[in-house]
Every structure is written in C-alpha cells, then in structure tokens.
C-alpha cells in the first residue's frame, strides 16, 4: 500500500524562534485546525463504526482532547518520537499517521499500520516516529524515556514525547523513569493529559496532593497548561522541546483537558460518575476546536467559508479512509505466526 495516501494529516514545520506564538504564520493555525478537525471526524467515524458493529473490540475516543496531541506534535520534528496510550488515535494522527491505515488497523485489516495485529490500542508507525500506543497504563513511560536515552547516546538531537492520562500517576514505573530522565537530562517530554477521570473514577479520589508536584519532586521542569487551547499547548511544548534538544533535560507538561465521550465507546450511561451538566459545560464552553476557530475568526485569519471548506475536505478525506479500510482484506491466516521473533 502507498505509504502516504491522501489522508495523511499535514504537519506544518514547527517554528524555531522563542517568541513562539508570534512567529507562527497565521495560516499555519489553519493547518492546525485542520489536524484537530481530522482527529475529531476520525473519532466520530470510529464511534460510528463501532455502533454499526463494524469494528471489533472497543475504542477510547480522543474527542475533546485534540488540542493536546496537535499542540505537542506541532512542536516536534518528523523524526522525533512519541509514545501513546489506549486513547491514542489523536496522538498517532497528529504525529503524521494516515487515517486510512489507521482505520484499517482498527478493523484488523492487513493494510493497517500493524497488519491488523495491534488494533486500536497498539498503533505504531516508526516512519512518523510513533513508537506505539500502549494498552498498559503508563506502559510506555519506560519506552519513551529509553528512546530519549538512545537519542542522547546517538547524538541525534531527537526528542521523545510521552503521552499519558493522569491515571498513569498511579503507576510506579512512571516515577522510576522520571527519576532517570532527570538524572541523565534526557530529552523527553512527559505529556500528562488530565481529563479528570481514570476510567470511571475522578482523579481526586486517586491522586493525593498536586499533580504538578509529582514531577517537580524529581527536579523536572514542570508546566501546567490549558489543554483546550492548542496555542498554549504548542507554546509550552515548543519551549520543552527546545530545552530537551539543547540538553536541558526533561519537562513535565500537565495539560488540563476533558474527554467529551465515555471512557470507551461502550461507556454510555455515565451519570453515576459525572453529570450531564459537566459534560455540557466542557462541550459547549471548552471545545478546543471552537476555541481555535474563535481565535482564527477574531484574528481575521479565517472566514466562515474557510471553515466550511476545511470541514468538507476533512470529511471527504476521512470518509474515503473509512471506505478504504472497510473494503481492505484481512491478513492471511499464515500471518499469525509471523513476526513473533525478529
């Protein structure tokens, strides 16, 4: 299959200057908007595929958190690394994955990024620096930190961004990895997406003290940011990436955000753990797409028909990707034995 079909998300070149936001051409924010919308529409289709019984298993939608993945990946080079989580579609797309091969993977097809062997929670794409989504909470803390160690040893000036939910703060291995990252000044950025819930439990019930203190305790530079504002995320990530690339060591980026949907597609009755009002407030008041769109409009960078044009093209692209995946063949039975050992 062609490596970069039409649906690959555009990644504008990251700005190098320190006056980060000012230096980003306004047009670029349109590309950012397009990326975020692509993730949104991608996830809507995932939801739809599942409801129609076309997608095996479950999936964890990223809707509501798009600004985090896109803002961070904007600040990365194509050869920089990311690791992702069970809620990983947004990270993969933002780092450059093509929607069609993503869908193919979600449907267990041979054209998928992992030839159907990984599925929603294990999409990996070394060509875009994606070392893999991970179904173990905090399971990639070590991997991302090790990629940073490797980058440092190889002198490649690559950076690794490690995405995880605030639930990962419960896992000891995160602290083990952060300790080493700080000790050895590794070029890794821990991107903690605090979407308020560990599955069905509010973080306040599982997290003692201040989240930001956890990384600060390891002398890791720690920044809190509004995860619904992609420009804020980008600025913070850009600074972190610069630090990392210049040998300044790790950063912990605490992004406050919210998942608009359930923990996974099957999590429909949510009222026992969070109110409809809360959801409504975030959806209407803190939608990262709306926040960026409002800014673009206020700046005069985009007009209503720009948004319509973008939406049309994104929808066309994602729908084509879905069709591609639906009609793609499953792997041959013989593949089951392949790639156990390298």
């Amino acid at each position: 299959m062609a490596k970069a079909r039409g649906s690959r998300v555009q990644r504008p070149t990251p700005a190098r200057e320190h006056e980060v936001l000012a230096s980003v051409p306004r047009d670029q924010w349109l590309a950012v908007y397009t990326q975020m919308l692509t993730i949104r529409v991608f996830e809507e289709h995932v939801h739809d595929l599942w409801r129609r019984g076309k997608m095996p298993g479950l999936a964890h939608l990223y809707i509501g958190q798009e600004a985090v993945a896109v803002g961070v990946c904007q600040a990365l080079r194509p050869d920089d690394y990311i690791t992702s989580t069970h809620r990983g579609h947004g990270h993969c797309l933002a780092k450059g994955a093509a929607a069609d091969r993503m869908f193919a993977e979600l449907l267990g097809k041979a054209a998928g990024y992992c030839r159907g062997k990984g599925g929603s929670m294990h999409i990996a794409d070394p060509e875009t620096g994606n070392l893999g989504a991970n179904a173990i909470v905090a399971g990639s803390a070590g991997i991302a930190t090790g990629a940073a160690l490797s980058a440092k040893m190889r002198g490649s000036a690559q950076v690794a961004a490690c995405f995880f939910g605030e639930g990962a703060l419960g896992q000891g291995v995160l602290y083990e990895a952060m300790n080493m990252a700080a000790l050895w000044k590794l070029p890794v950025i821990y991107v903690c997406e605090n979407n308020l819930y560990n599955e069905y439990t509010h973080y306040a019930e599982t997290t003692a003290g201040e989240m930001a203190a956890r990384s600060a305790a390891f002398a890791i530079s720690t920044t809190e940011v509004d995860g619904q504002d992609v420009r804020a995320v980008y600025a913070a990530a850009h600074a972190a990436v610069q630090r990392a690339r210049q040998g300044g060591g790790p950063t912990f980026l605490l992004c406050h955000t919210y998942r608009f949907h359930g923990h996974h597609v099957g999590d429909v009755d949510r009222s026992y753990y969070r109110s409809k009002e809360e959801e409504q407030q975030w959806r209407s008041g803190r939608d990262p797409l709306r926040i960026l769109a409002d800014w673009l409009r206020a700046q005069g960078t985009a007009q209503p028909d720009d948004f319509e044009r973008i939406e049309r093209s994104v929808r066309a692209l994602v729908e084509a990707a879905v069709q591609f995946a639906l009609s793609a063949p499953y792997p041959e039975a013989s593949e089951v034995h392949q790639d156990v050992y390298a």
Binding site: P56, G57, L58, E105, G108, K109, C114, R115, G116, K117, G118, G119, S120, M121, H122, N134, A135, I136, V137, A138, G139, G167, A168, L169, G170, Q171, G172, N198, E199, Y200, T201, E205, T206, T207, Y272, Y273, Y330, P331, A333, E335, V336, H337, V340
Partner: protein
Amino acid sequence: MSMPETAATPPATGAVREITFGQAIREALAEEMRRDPRVFIIGEDVAEAGTPFKVLSGLVEEFGRERVIDSPISEAGITGLATGAAMTGMRPVVDIMFGDFLTLAMDQIANQAAKVHYMSGGKLKVPLVVRTTLGATRRSAAQHSQSLHAWVSHVPGLKVALPSTPYDAKGLLKSAIRDDSPVVFFEDKMMYTMRGGVPAEEYTIPLGVAEVKRPGGDITIVATSSMVHVALAAAEALAAEGISAEVVDPRTTMPLDTETIIESARKTGRAMVVDEGYERYGVTAEIAAVIAEGAFQYLDAPVRRLGAMHVPIPFSPVLEDLTVPTPETVAATARALCGRA
C-alpha cells in the same frame, strides 16, 4: 471462542436458580462480606462502576466505600497493601482488572504474599484473594487477552483457582476467601454472562478437587476454565461419531487433583489437555507430564496438549481466533489420538 449460554448444572440438593457466572462471583463476595467483617474488596473502579465487567455492581451500595475501595491505578501497590492487611487481621480481595496486569504485581504476589508464611516459620498468614481475568477472543489484543495462570501456579505458597461454571465460581471463591493462604482466582472474561444452576442455599467447593464434567470411556480431555466448555462441545461432536470423551475439570491448578486426572487417563488410555494459556511451558505441560508419568502403563497414545499458540495475541479477529483451542481443534486432536484421523 463463543461461550455456550448455559453451563452444566450442579449436583442440586435444594432450590437451584439459573444465574450468570458474574452473579455467582458477586453472590460469593456478598455472602462472605456479610459473614465476615474482615473481608473487603480493593481495586480499580470496583465501587460505583462495579468493574468494567459490572461483576461487582451493587456491592458498594450494600457494604459502603470502606469495604469496596476504589484505588488508584496501582496494581503493585494495591496487592502490596492487601498483603499487609491480610497479615494483620483482614481478608482482602484484590481486583486486578485484566490478568495481563499481573505482570505489575508479580513481586507482591510471588515474592511477598506467597512467601510470607513460610519465611516467617509459619507465624504470619496471608489470607488474600487476588481475583483477575483470563481469556482471549475479546478483540482486546496482546496486552488484554492473556491467560497467565501458569506463572502463579509455578510459585510455591500460592493456590490457583480457575472455575468453569457459575456453580464452581461461587463455591470456589467462597473457599478461596476462607483460605488462610493467598489464592489467585481467574475468571474468564467471556464467561461472565454464561448462565448456570446455583443452589439457593450456601455451599463451598474445596480447593484441590477436580470434577468430571462429562463421563466417558475412550479418551480423557482435561480442560480448564472456559476450555471446559470447548471440551464439552468437542465431546458432544465426538459422541456423534462414537467416541466417548471424558471431560475432567481440575478446577484448581494448585493444588492439582492429580489422582482424579490420572485415574481418568488410566481408565480411558488416551488423554489430552486443553488450556487457554500459552502452550509452551504452560499449564498443559504440567498436566500432560503428570498424566504421562502417572498413567504410563495405561496409555495407548502420547498425551496431547492444546494451549494458546506461541504468539502474542493478535487483534485481528481472523488471526485471534486461530490462536486458541476450539471445539473443532479439540475434536480433531481427540480423533487423531483415537486413531480416527
């Protein structure tokens, strides 16, 4: 594998209801928590959520958040806390959502809980139950589909239960909670909605006693957990061809009821072992070795093993379904063993 809707009925001595495997688990917990104030539950999303499988729904309402404790995502930590609580007068039941996450708690389970009693010269006890899941074919991919019971079965000091029916689930879980040793209790995710007869009155099933789930004379199929139903389906198919298969369910791998297993193999002269853990260095190896030694003089054919394929479990349904034993592969193996290939 798709589960049959109804499991074999238990030896009924009074009123028997049809309930699901998940309900049986919940009943066992509720009854033991009512009976013994020292019993409590700790795990991720166990309270209001009642676990992602909804197995514990309703317990927090009856027993409160002090005894049904929602924890951080800390498998090692909660197993460690539970071990300490067990050593000091409580009887915790830890919920490890997916058996794959045992990897994170292995130090607490194998180096702490399993060894404390022995290392202390018998002075400290660890009446701990770790409930967790096993089983593939749920389209959950390599990190959410494993059956890692061989690991814990290997470790002296641990007991290991793998119920295959609602009846066994309830009776074994009650025994596990009352046991003064740590017990790792595996529930097949795919069985939670399977229905089966469970007596209304109280009962327990001792750990270490196998059950012949279907008697037969031509071949012994030892099967664990949901593989019992795969074996029963195979036995049904084989019966139509004139092969009478005896299905033996060990119910616990530690202690292992070697006597019942060997006796069956001696009787039939042919044996195979079916288990959903990885085949190599797995539970099938131990049981096959036990049979091969114990029934050596009686065997007309080598003991055959069917476990999960030696691959990480793939996501794609077309691949995943190839990796675990099915009624067809079990029947085919049995046929071959009986010289009817």
